[in-house]
Amino acid sequence: MIYLDNAATTMHKPAQVRRAVSEALHRGGNAGRGGHSGEAYSDRVLFECRGEIAALFGLAEPERVVFTMNATHALNIAINSLVRPGMRVLISGYEHNAVRRPLLAKERAGEIEIVVLRSPLFEPEVFLYKLEAELRRGAGLVVMTHVSNVFGYILPVERADELCAEHGVPLIVDASQSAGVLELNAAALRATRYLCMPGHKGLYGPQGTGALVCVGDRYEEEPPEPLMFGGTGGDSRAEGMPDYLPERVEAGTQNVHGIAGLREGVRFVRRTGAARILAHEREMARRIISGLALYPRVRVFAAPGLFCQTGVLSLVVRGVSCERTAELLAAEGIAVRAGQHCAPLAHDSAGTGREGSVRLSPSVFTKPSEADAAVRALARIAQREPL
């Protein structure tokens, strides 16, 4: 299979990730639940993985890293921790349902007002203009994605952070598509309180892993609120959840097997370098864009020179539904994703609406020959499918 669905999950993992999961399955006790060598092994795995993730974002303290099931879980904790009744919450027009739905649930309960900052695709200056205008009107929280999962559009998170800091408004960043691909120095951010990410995409860990990274100076005084309550392996006679991180928001047994793999995935990313990974993925995207330029029936959504875009590409073949295009590609052994990508806001903002798009997303393991094969297959669809 030619796998171009890495924005959904990086299916091909580094060998050390697979080995680490296997080792943890053999050696891992329940972290924090015992005093034996199996427990100590798992405790060490968790601690080392926290340290790797913190370091990836320029942070020193492993305690800032809370393990979650996925990015959605992390976003729910972050949103639940910062949203207050009566708040006006600003979100970008490129948010995934992992942001949209938890906020909509609160809006429908009459608790908050959501303001969607609609802006055209690949127009970061327009987004910033709208953000500043709405911050001036008053807001209690901003939630924004770093990179659109549909279009690979890089939103200007650092500049948004500055604007939020000037207005004293906290920021939650959905780093689902940027973690491991874009460098981000969280220590330099002033308004960002949380980075939320999956472990199984750009960090090359197993599915079922994710992280909430607590940013800023006040992470200990104002820790996130628990979404789940239960055992943490410590302070067992206390009636409430601990007031310290990360245990405060980590009720129940940890996914040590997955986290062992995630630790190696993050180590792989740090050794390789996010900049190199991004450069490779963009190179694959450029091959696809230039190859498809000969076929006017194929519309590729690409920023000029990919100046604000990762290697994630969306496209549509005129007269062929996205689902049909993906089906034809799958028949040729090419895996992509078609439809709404759980991000109807992004499709509405970009004008692809209910039809959606076909998304091609390479990883560091994608070969040039695979990108070329995708071009040839799409060219055949454009030439042969009836209009």
């Binding site: 968790l46 601690f47 492993p62 305690e63 410590g234 302070d235 067992s236 245990e247």
Partner: protein, 87 residues
Amino acid sequence: MSECLITSRGATRARAMAVALASAGLPARVVRPPADVSREGCGYAVAIAQQLVGQAAEVLRAAHMPPRRIYCVGADGRYTEEKGYGA
């Protein structure tokens, strides 16, 4: 060799304390302390040789992880809280 226990607020902090102490050349290990040390039950601590405990407290303060409480083994074999290290 007599040991002291420097209590920690959780497993992650205990590991971080042990790493900071090891980096300073002070051998320490993460342990689960007995009930008379762990006030809320099922606590965490780092164990360190008694003659190093003063240095350890300094290292942890410098690393922004000030010790919560320090317990050392008394003549009766029981842990008693040491107040002399500014914990």
